[in-house]
Symmetry: C4
Subunit: 245 residues, 4 copies
């Protein structure tokens, strides 16, 4: 198996996991930077993630034009992916989601903050991007590179940006990394929301704890366990392959 | 396949989707205007939507009398459908639902408002219809044309009316359109409810954003993707047919 | 099939429905008055409702002693059932549940009230029974006839009594009737809880609406549809039989 | 079957139950004290609980070193288990979970308290352990015996300790006992959270009720029913064996 085959296979698994864990539904998408060419990325044609199969994966330039052999109707909002890869060479995978639990923090003046150790990747300050600030009244969809770049700029070195009334964009140092962030961000939101409703004082993660967890780096055996579990639950355990860790 | 066959088939799929997505349960229903005769509509006999099959679909006049060849016990509340089709010739499909997430806004003085881009169809002002205002103490069911007309009047040019202590009625420019509204209205409610609980200021969609999204019109490839996904999840993917878009 | 066979069969279906709809879990139970002898009732031996089969159904006196041919370990809390049948000859079926959504109203000074048309059976005033008032510190379980009678007394002519920190007891004019009450009471609780969290004024059902709905009486074709749907969802559609309505 | 075989089998069932009931997910674990040697305990190698099988179960010393014949990569946080067994000889089983419903009480100044009869085991005062108090900024994981002992000290004679921003540790007098506590603690949290949101006064269990329930002791026929139900739901009903009660 080539690295490219592995990347495509991992991306199919990732689509199914995000659908099964409720992070994406009919809409939402996940991409991975091309393993051989950092100026390209891989993303499904416009299908709901639960239905994505190997043949649906297309190659895109960072300007989000289809550049590979395979063709198909692309997602309207693929510019979210291209612009984030363009802005930050460290980022290897991107998720765009509309998860219900996170959305309240995109429309409220109350900020999301990390309160769970499993959500430390999102950092202390989570930017909220509002397309209206620069582009006025739109359909709220990110449909060109200029809008994608504005979002990527708001994201900066953060790993998560909320999109007002729309969802979030998550960026990862690896595909497993962004899957973990995307699954645990909604849970962090749920726990924080409930804690706020309790009405007392709340203790978030400290800066030092976030730094200590960040120093662990992505990957490792814990993420392998996590992916195995999620893939089996999503019915794609048979797609899992032995990885050289 | 005739247009009528297609309409019946689409309506069966719609019943299953609404049941599987939790918009309807034992109760609730969905109809479509007759494709050949704008003075008629199609609706299942009185069955729970998850169980509806092709043979259950009956034809009704806009006065909600059974007029087709097939017969059966009709839903008590079919007048919701007939009266809305009668009042607004643009409307091609109607859903009546008791979704839990929406119901609080039907009994509270706090208004529902659109905060998600996917729920822009419901518009800035969502009317709440209270059967008691005109009809006094009733069983709260819409069981005659006069009550249906009163609801249709409250709905006006809006696409959603809440029904106090009962549920909502949604009207669409197409069947896919009303399915989208019916699935995303509960999510909009959930997100708004949580945002209110957070206690800060809330940013809803702007009038201009609602207008920009409305200008997109119904249908298109995104809705095809959505319906494919929902139909497969609901176990009726085999009923999907190629459509001339 | 005899009436007794039908009653046993209906009770098995009812157990499965309540489990599948999340009204009961490992614990909780449902009974029906004996169709031939109003001084007896039918209830499963001590099994989780999802696992109850025909052979598990035992006959009890109103003092909650096993009186039929079949024997087995009974539920500790069967006295809830016997005492309610003893107190009110109109009652034909009883459910005891720990549903999470209802429990907050059993420990809070904020009263439950009916806000959904589907929950009108619970009436305007829903009593909260606290075993500690008469019996002091106990295990909180209803383990003898005296405790059951105290609960039945608190219930009075109501159809639902909340049990502080424990759950609820629902009484019905028929088995279908008590199933409907038991499924929709948690939904009413959820909707009311959310409406309270919104912070505005709330409009409950009026006394007149409750009376109008009560006049409809139990049973009828709508409940048949409801039971068919729930039974099929619970995987016991094959147990359904044609009834003389 | 030997006692050791039974213990391993019970532990596999427990892993599946906790996964299926939503108490653990990709992460979290459950252990049992070795039936022949109180200085050892049994715990899976580092796998997600839903995937744990008989061959995954390893033997550990109370210092959390692997001591049995079988080997494998252990959970990083196994010290939670070893230290609790070391500190309290009464404890026969331990669960570590990240259940969302409980987590808000680990980061809020509002204390968890028992309000459901089924959650009486957690007692009136539930300690919240914050690893930062003694160890400063860490990854928040319990990765050595010193940290485990600090947690076990905070737990003391209680049966549950919350871990700030992380989850909870539950200790039981038997495996069934700790399963019950672990499943009902999240439910108690959910009910309490909702009751707090209602805004009125709340009645928790009394000290006397907790004592009366505690006097019932662990085990008994009710727990057998509960385990049978949960095991069947989790798809491991075939692993159940007749126990000498």
């Amino acid at each position: 198996m080539s690295d490219l085959d592995d990347a495509v296979n991992d991306l199919v698994i990732a689509n199914r996991i995000l659908a099964h864990e409720g992070v994406v539904d009919a809409f939402g998408h996940v991409s991975i930077r091309h393993p051989h060419d950092s100026k390209k990325y891989l993303l499904s044609r416009a299908r709901s993630p639960e239905l994505v199969a190997h043949d649906d994966i297309l190659e895109f330039s960072l300007a989000s034009d289809i550049v590979g052999e395979r063709s198909g109707r692309p997602y309207l909002e693929r510019f979210i992916h291209g612009a984030i890869y363009e802005a930050n060479p460290e980022i290897m995978a991107v998720v765009h989601s509309h998860a219900d639990e996170v959305l309240p923090y995109s429309i409220s003046s109350v900020p999301m903050q990390p309160v769970l150790h499993t959500a430390s990747e999102c950092g202390h300050h989570i930017p909220v991007w509002d397309i209206r600030e620069k582009f006025g009244d739109t359909t709220m969809l990110v449909t060109n590179q200029e809008q994608g770049r504005d979002l990527a700029h708001a994201l900066g070195k953060s790993r998560v940006a909320l999109m007002r009334g729309h969802g979030f964009a998550a960026a990862g140092l690896s595909l497993n990394d962004v899957l973990k962030t995307s699954v645990y961000l909604p849970r962090n939101a749920r726990v924080l929301t409930t804690a706020i409703a309790l009405g007392g004082d709340i203790t978030p993660l400290s800066e030092g704890e976030i730094a200590a967890r960040s120093a662990l780096g992505p990957g490792g055996a814990d993420q392998t366990r996590m992916i195995e579990y999620w893939a089996r639950r999503a019915g794609v355990g048979d797609l899992l392959r032995e990885k050289k860790t």
